[in-house]
Amino acid sequence: MEYKELTKRYFDGELSSAEEQTLREGLMAAADEDLTADERAAKTLLRYASLQSDASVRIKLHDSSERRRSRITDAILSLGSLNFARVAMTTALGVLLIGVMIHFTRPTVYGYHNGRPITSYDEAQLLAQDIFNNLAHEGFAEEHNLQDLFTLD
């Protein structure tokens, strides 16, 4: 019989889907008397499988037209069928980028004068100069006083 080899390979699990279809059609068309025991067994199995594949089930589906609320979320997230991982990665990258931008564009604070941050280098230098000048004057005054204090003559 021409299906002998195909039947053998069917039972060995070696047939492709197309070959199985060929075998199925061939065996179904053949009379049982013309088939070997193996072929009849294959025919029985294949017939059982094809009968099984007729079974169906009724499912209660959600009616998408009645759910107006879901349409909005659908529209938002169905754009390009974004998956969760991609959204999470993009968000993390965005946050990182914003952080880096803030870090590099933030002005340098050289110090505070009366609670006001000094971000200009020149202004900071002038203020520092003033402070040291004042300190120098105050220091001299104290030095004179001390000299007076420890002078015994």
Binding site: A37, T44, L45, A55, S56, V57, L61, L77, S81
Partner: protein, 166 residues
């Protein structure tokens, strides 16, 4: 996927999922419940589901739901031994076919679970071995082997019955 897409795709695959559930659970009502459960879960997560690979997702998910139900049964709530499993569903068949169908059903029901599900996915659903391996979490070679073993066992028993009426 949006609501319409998930409905459309699920309608296309629901019968295959149901039949797979029947083959695992041996109970049509429970299989229908499992299929409905699957739909509800997919509906809730529809916004995160992509169209690519949806068929695999459906088959893997129905398998997991069925395995959970089998575990629940085994914990003693509603255990149904395989020997007492339901008779095959009444498909459109004549009496000879019905008889043979019942025999094959019984033989397949006696197979180990992995062989049974591989045989169902291959012969009844016509899936490629590669796809079956993905669904059952195995390799293509192992699936081919399981399928071959299952077919071989059923063949041996069928030949005995056909020759000797055992």
């Amino acid at each position: 996927m949006n609501s319409e897409e998930i409905n459309r795709e699920f309608i296309r695959l629901k019968d295959a999922a149901y039949r797979y559930a029947v083959s695992l659970l041996h109970d049509r009502d429970e299989a229908a419940d499992a299929t409905q459960d699957l739909y509800e879960k997919l509906w809730q997560r529809r916004l995160f589901i992509r169209r690519n690979g949806f068929e695999s997702l459906v088959m893997v998910s129905i398998r997991n739901i069925c395995l959970d139900r089998i575990k629940a049964r085994q914990r003693g709530r509603q255990f149904t031994p395989l020997e007492d499993a339901e008779a095959p569903p009444n498909y459109r068949v004549d009496s000879d076919d019905k008889e043979l169908s019942a025999i094959v059903h019984r033989l397949i029901a006696a197979l180990p679970e992995r062989e049974r599900e591989v045989l169902h996915l291959r012969d009844s659903e016509g899936l490629e071995f590669e796809h079956i391996a993905e669904i059952v979490g195995s390799t293509e070679a192992a699936v081919r082997m399981a399928c071959s073993r299952a077919r071989g066992k059923v063949k041996e028993e069928l030949i005995k019955i056909m020759n000797y009426g055992v």
